[in-house]
């Protein structure tokens, strides 16, 4: 076989770098949406590669629900320091304090949906015309139809039935004042690809992804970490388990799986054998068949 071909990881990397450079070239004020999760860490790593030896040209924007894993915030601050990048924080707590949104009630209350308002407010306040996300099409069925360059109207809304066609690698980021774009450089990566690449490049990720001992509660078919925000039901019991997280979201809704995988090699092997999707442990997606689509239409990540 000819030596002039790329393997799948190199091709995905090359595609993502191309998309990131297009974003830089087509927009005035783009940012990377940084959650501290592996996908946004990966996007940040790819942006570093795309513009080397220049500094990463995008500020990182974090929508802070206040319900964080402390490890995530530490990781975020470290990476900002290492890259010398600018950090923009949109605070859900502030949105609540200002009366822009109201806290959900009840034991399954989360701040997940509240993030939409904070995110859109931060985009508007910082005059951001493109927010780069780590969304992947394999994650969820509504995401399977996302474009690399995804248009949002001046209310920040996504209109999935009326998307711009995207052909070859020609991206159309033209927009009017007040509208913005979401860009998804790792659209074509699967969870397995992400892990294989993180392993190959030896990218630093928060310790939460590795198996560790933690106080947890069994709820909605997964281990929810005990935290100051968790309201326990009478029948619920806090136990200590060796777990790890497959995705990172709010500490109140991110369930862990029991695991002994404490190295990148072991995680990749474990993911390869997994029989459930990674979002299967996210209670925000379990609310209905179209939970993700409904949130995305309104402006969610």
């Amino acid at each position: 076989m000819s030596k002039y071909y790329l393997n799948y990881l190199d091709e995905l990397e090359s595609e993502a770098i191309f998309v990131l450079r297009e974003v830089w070239a087509q927009f005035e004020n783009p940012v990377i949406l940084f959650s501290g999760g592996k996908d946004s860490i990966l996007v940040t790593h790819l942006a570093k590669k795309a513009f080397y030896p220049a500094k990463i040209p995008f500020p990182l924007m974090h929508v802070d629900t206040g319900h964080n894993f402390p490890e995530t915030i530490q990781f975020r601050d470290d990476i900002i320091k290492e890259l010398g990048a600018q950090l923009i924080v949109g605070s859900v707590q502030e949105s609540i304090d200002e009366g822009r949104v109201a806290e959900e009630k009840g034991k399954n209350a989360t701040r997940n949906a509240l993030q939409i308002t904070t995110l859109l407010d931060a985009i508007e306040a910082n005059k951001i015309d493109c927010a780069i996300g780590g969304g992947r099409r394999d994650e969820e069925k509504a995401r399977a139809k996302e474009r690399f360059f995804s248009h949002r109207d001046d209310f920040g809304q996504w209109d999935p039935k009326n998307q711009r066609p995207e052909l070859w690698n020609i991206f159309n980021g033209k927009h009017f004042e007040g509208e913005h774009f979401r860009a998804f450089p790792i659209s074509n990566w699967t969870e397995m690809d992400v892990w294989n690449y993180i392993k190959r490049e030896n990218i630093a990720i928060p310790s939460l992804y590795f198996a560790h001992e933690r106080e947890v509660v069994w709820r909605q078919d997964s281990w929810i970490p005990n935290s100051e925000f968790l309201v326990l039901e009478d029948h619920e019991e806090v136990v200590t388990k060796k777990i790890r997280f497959r995705t990172l979201g709010d500490i109140t809704i991110t369930g862990g799986v029991e695991s002994d995988a404490d190295t990148l090699e072991k995680i990749a092997a474990e993911v390869a054998g997994m029989r459930n999707t990674e979002r299967g442990n996210r209670s925000d997606d379990k609310r209905s068949e179209s939970a993700m689509e409904d949130r995305k239409r309104q402006g969610y990540f």
Binding site: Y8, A54, K55, R137, D138, K141, T190
Partner: protein, 417 residues
């Protein structure tokens, strides 16, 4: 998965009736790419709808409207991996009103799969799908003759369909066509070899996809490097660094190559090729790299670095096979932004030479209206020259899109003749 595994992108065109969704569901299910929670969700929905067993077709329905109506409206992307390759499926609807979605899905595909219902043989829709595959120059076509179980797995039926299809495709520009008799519903010849059709000597679909030779599909002759952006680090150690960032569209560029910058015509030599902190000897499509040159030349986004002995044609008058993608039809002599690689210019559609009747595939030079889903040969005039190659030689430097400045929407996609 091995480190040298390739990525293969294929498109499926077909309607609900062809069993396209069932085929994709079957590929994913039999290659063990469906997760348990996904399967559970489908089982529940199947039960709710009163289907017997698990309806694998439900697996590919994405948006709420589609689930309600039971049709695929947009292009949906699916992923699966086998020990041999990673696959991306661009799943598109097959009806005539979704021609634009099929064109979109086909634009990046290495392989087109065309579904035929064995009971009906080659129908108008089949011809349209083959036409789109040839128009978009997809290098390989797999014709899936499905529902063989409903024609008693008859070899004769299959052979007749093969002849019918070959008659149609002989008039088109298609290179590599393969035929597979199958039953997606029962799983015959999708992942596993059919026991019902011992007369079929070929491989099942998945094995065909896994072993198909695709690395020669990329143009390795004409070195083309459209510049996306210029990297100028304002930091110590790199004060004089000026890197031209881009993705190799085709061909191979090596350190020391004599290059010409288009459209200015300035010449220089490649000083270095970088990917992050690595120095490379050469770069080839589709690698994203940064290139530095020996001489300080004014280069910006939209320029193209090419080898001096092999240059594209700078042209302001281009002939294009255009597919109209937008609800509002083209306005006569109206102006658009044309996007070609990293270059944006203003452009005007000067003339519609002929339009295809998408049903009969006949050319009609009387009708010059361009509405949604129309495919036509047009003449376009641009304000400044574009560095073009014919689409059949180069899918990247031979393709364009048109953007309506009034709405900013992508209204058309074109292949340069």
């Amino acid at each position: 998965m091995l480190d040298n595994n390739q990525l293969l992108r294929f498109t499926t065109a077909g309607s609900v009736d062809d069993g396209k969704s069932t085929l994709i569901g079957r590929l994913l299910y039999d290659s063990k790419s469906i997760f348990e929670d996904q399967l559970e969700a489908i089982e529940n929905t199947s039960k709710k709808k009163g289907h017997e067993g698990v309806d694998l077709a439900l697996f590919t329905d994405g948006l709420r409207d589609e689930r309600e109506q039971g049709i695929t409206i947009d292009v949906a992307y699916r992923y699966f991996t086998t020990p041999k390759r990673k696959f991306i499926i661009a799943d598109t609807p097959g009806h005539i009103q979704y021609t634009r979605n099929m064109v979109t899905g086909a634009s990046t595909a290495n392989v087109a799969t065309i579904l035929i219902d064995a009971r009906h043989g080659v129908i108008e829709q089949t011809k349209r799908h083959a036409f789109i595959a040839s128009l978009l120059q997809i290098p390989h076509i797999i014709v899936c003759v499905n529902k063989m179980d409903l024609v008693d797995f008859s070899e004769e039926v299959f052979n007749n369909i093969v002849s019918e299809f070959e008659e149609v495709s002989s008039k088109m520009l298609v290179k590599d066509v393969r035929f597979i008799p199958m039953s997606a519903l029962l799983g015959d010849n999708v992942v596993n070899k059919s026991e019902n059709m011992p007369w079929y000597q070929g491989a099942p679909m998945l094995h065909t996809l896994e072993t198909m030779h695709i690395s020669s599909d990329i143009n390795k002759v004409d070195a083309r490097f459209p510049v996306q952006t210029v990297i100028r680090p304002q930091r110590e150690g790199f004060i004089d660094y000026r890197g031209y960032a881009g993705r190799v569209a085709s061909g191979i560029l090596r350190r020391g190559d004599d290059v010409t910058v288009m459209p200015s015509g300035f010449t220089s030599k490649i000083k270095s090729i970088n990917l992050h902190d690595k120095e490379l000897e050469e770069a080839y499509a589709p690698m994203s790299v940064s290139i530095t040159l020996e001489d300080d030349i004014d280069i910006s986004r939209g320029d193209m670095i090419v080898r001096s002995n092999n240059k594209p044609e700078p042209s302001q008058d281009i002939e294009v096979m255009l597919c109209w993608l937008n609800n509002s039809p083209a306005k006569p002599r109206s102006k658009y932004t044309i996007k070609h690689t990293s270059n944006d210019q203003k452009a005007m559609i000067k003339e519609v030479v002929y339009k295809y009747d998408i049903n009969t595939l006949e050319r009609n030079s009387e009708d010059s209206d361009l509405a949604m889903n129309d495919i036509a040969k047009v003449k376009i005039r641009t304000t400044k020259p574009l560095m073009i190659d014919p689409y059949r030689e180069n899918r990247t430097t031979g393709s364009i899109i048109l953007v309506d400045d009034a709405t900013n929407e992508t209204v058309a996609a074109g292949m340069i003749v």
